[in-house]
């Protein structure tokens, strides 16, 4: 017996013993144990059983000779030899039925708690239905209104709390298989986002002064990812001007179950204005009436319909040589009450890219910023080509700082100050 097999023997013994002795207790809890076993037996009976050494399974092989043969075929064995040896006997037991006493007791506690939560969910939804069944004038009374809102919030919380202790839910979420239509996975994703990525985003947009410059305030509640081509751009990154000459793709992930209509705007807040010695704003992209939800997250800015959504198409951002870097901030803004804006009116009104402020748009169309992103652009070797493509005026000009005249010499410690 190989060393690894000897090491995993206690576990195998425990499993085989419990499968004989503890089968009645397991059966009481779930029938699944027996059905899976039966299915496996059938499957084994159907297929003529091939000897293991003829076609060794890379997840189960434990003898060095078979491993070598597999590797000669170009298949690498999976995991450690010790793990594979342990798996040879345990792969048939699903996670919830692992025969560990403390674990099973803990599962019982958690399941009973889940039962309680489910009961509470039904009673709460009954209460909500009762209030909603009231006639209109009764329902809009202040006390009932607030009570309804409180009950709905409580119901949301209960839905999350019913599943939050399930190890399989946790496992699924960590594997990235979470179903975003379910409140528990949305909750977990929100927690994860707020733990790191949202903090980074908020730090970047406040440290680079996008927040007081472009909009007075923004509290991001949707996760926004930005892709140029296949590359994802972290907030505040410098983007090559060739890469940013095509419109980016967005992944906007809201964490509540609502369907929203949003407006997306990309603003450059650092266009140098030489005549007045200041910086101007420029709107690089504006699109309205974009539907997003927890499941429908992908938005390709170049694929949106030009008849009903894109007000101003993508203008590649370029920075003139010698100008400081340009901050291009992207804002996802929720439309009020999810009502679609009148596209024709917006398109007729918003034509001038240069003199358009996002603050004005926000006030005019009752928008509210729910997500943000930021990237920067600066003169690089591809900028000249991009400028020629889009017909940028003064592409050959380089900006220089004005050299200030040197002041006449003045003694630091003049006679009048000497005591």
């Amino acid at each position: 017996m190989a060393h690894c097999e000897r090491a995993s023997r206690p576990l195998i013994q425990c499993l085989s013993k419990s499968s004989v002795r503890g089968i009645s207790s397991v059966q009481l809890q779930t029938r699944a144990f027996q059905t899976t076993a039966a299915v496996q037996e059938e499957a084994q009976a159907e297929a003529p059983k091939q000897a293991f050494y003829k076609s060794p399974d890379p997840a189960l092989v434990s003898s060095p000779r078979l491993e070598r043969r597999l590797m000669r075929q170009g298949i690498l064995p999976i995991g450690s030899r010790r793990r594979r040896a342990a798996l040879q006997a345990t792969s048939s037991v699903p996670f919830e039925q692992l025969p560990y006493q403390c674990f099973q007791e803990a599962r019982k506690v958690l399941l009973s708690d889940r039962e309680e939560k489910l009961k509470e969910i039904t009673t709460t939804s009954e209460k909500i239905a009762k209030i909603q069944a009231l006639p209109e004038e009764e329902r809009t009374k202040n006390s009932n209104h607030s009570r309804l809102r409180a009950l709905e919030l409580h119901l949301e919380r209960l839905k999350v709390h019913a599943d939050i202790n399930d190890p399989l839910v946790k496992k699924k979420f960590e594997d990235g298989d979470g179903d975003m239509s379910k409140p528990i996975y949305r909750y977990l994703a929100d927690q994860k986002w707020r733990e790191y990525r949202r903090k980074i985003l908020v730090q970047r947009i406040t440290q680079m002064k996008v927040i007081p410059d472009v909009l007075p305030h923004c509290d991001p509640i949707v996760d926004t990812k930005l892709y140029f081509g296949r590359k994802t751009v972290p907030p505040g990154e410098f983007v090559n001007s060739q890469a940013s000459s095509v419109a980016p793709k967005l992944d906007i992930q809201p964490f509540d179950g609502e369907n929203r209509l949003v407006t997306i705007a990309v603003v450059d807040s650092d266009v140098p204005n030489v005549a007045e010695d200041t910086f101007d704003y420029k709107m690089h992209y504006l699109a309205v009436n974009i539907p997003i939800s927890a499941l429908n997250t992908k938005v390709d800015l170049s694929q949106l319909s030009t008849e009903s959504q894109v007000v101003l198409p993508w203008l590649p951002p370029v920075a003139q040589k010698g100008s400081p870097y340009h901050r291009l901030s992207l804002f996802v803004m929720e439309q009020k009450n999810n009502t679609p804006l009148d596209f024709a009116a917006v398109k007729a009104k918003e034509t001038d890219r240069d003199n358009m402020l996002l603050r004005t748009l926000q006030a005019r169309y009752h928008l509210k910023a729910i997500g943000a992103h930021l990237f920067r652009t600066i003169w690089d070797e591809d900028t000249r080509d991009v400028m020629q493509e889009i017909g940028f005026p003064l592409a050959d000009m380089e900006l220089r700082r004005k050299r200030s005249e040197a002041l006449p010499y003045k003694r630091r410690n003049p006679v009048t100050m000497r005591g």
Partner: protein, 185 residues
């Protein structure tokens, strides 16, 4: 030749950054170095610093050593410190399940305790209210019972003055005398 030193000592040496091979294999070399360094060997060195009585090695400041860092390293790499806890995926999930169940159980117990206390307080409150209104004496009995003079007010029980143990403490120190100040005249 292997250094014949116990693993405990070896790890301690590692903590305090003592080069093991040097000390164990050739213990004479650093000593020799020290001896040569402490005595100004050549007359040129003497001529260069004629007024200095300290040797150059004494004058040189040792680099700043943070004792906290040394202690952290000492305990972190101490042979008695257990290895970090590493779990496989399913083992961790099982551990997490048990942990969550324990947390849930404790939370439920705490909540039940709180509710029990609340229930007791309210029952006592209701009883007092009943005594005030339902006894038929105009609330006199209630008012009498609410008078709490001499209950932990004018004098605190001396038993609570010290930790409650089986035997009495020292009690009064009869030997103590006031130290009289010398009076100035």
């Amino acid at each position: 030749m292997r250094p014949s030193i116990s693993p405990v000592l070896a790890s301690l040496a590692n903590v305090f950054r003592i080069p093991l091979s040097q000390t164990t294999l050739r213990p004479t070399i650093p000593l020799l170095n020290q001896q040569t360094a402490t005595q100004p060997s050549s007359p040129q060195a003497q001529a260069r610093a004629p007024f200095s009585t300290t040797t150059p090695l004494l004058k040189r400041k040792s680099p700043y050593i943070d004792r906290r860092v040394t202690l952290i390293r000492y305990f972190l790499y101490h042979p008695l410190t257990p290895r970090p806890l590493r779990f496989s995926r399913t083992r961790f999930l099982r551990h997490w399940t048990i942990h969550r169940a324990w947390q849930l159980y404790q939370a439920n117990r705490r909540r039940n305790h709180q509710l029990e206390l609340q229930r007791q307080w309210q029952a006592m409150n209701a009883a007092c209210e009943e005594l005030r209104t339902g006894a038929g004496d105009g609330g006199k009995l209630f008012r009498k019972s609410m008078i709490k003079t001499r209950i932990f007010k004018d004098m605190f029980p001396i038993e609570y003055g010290r930790m409650q143990t089986e035997g009495p403490g020292e009690g009064w120190n009869h030997e103590w005398k006031r130290v009289d100040k010398p009076v100035k005249r």
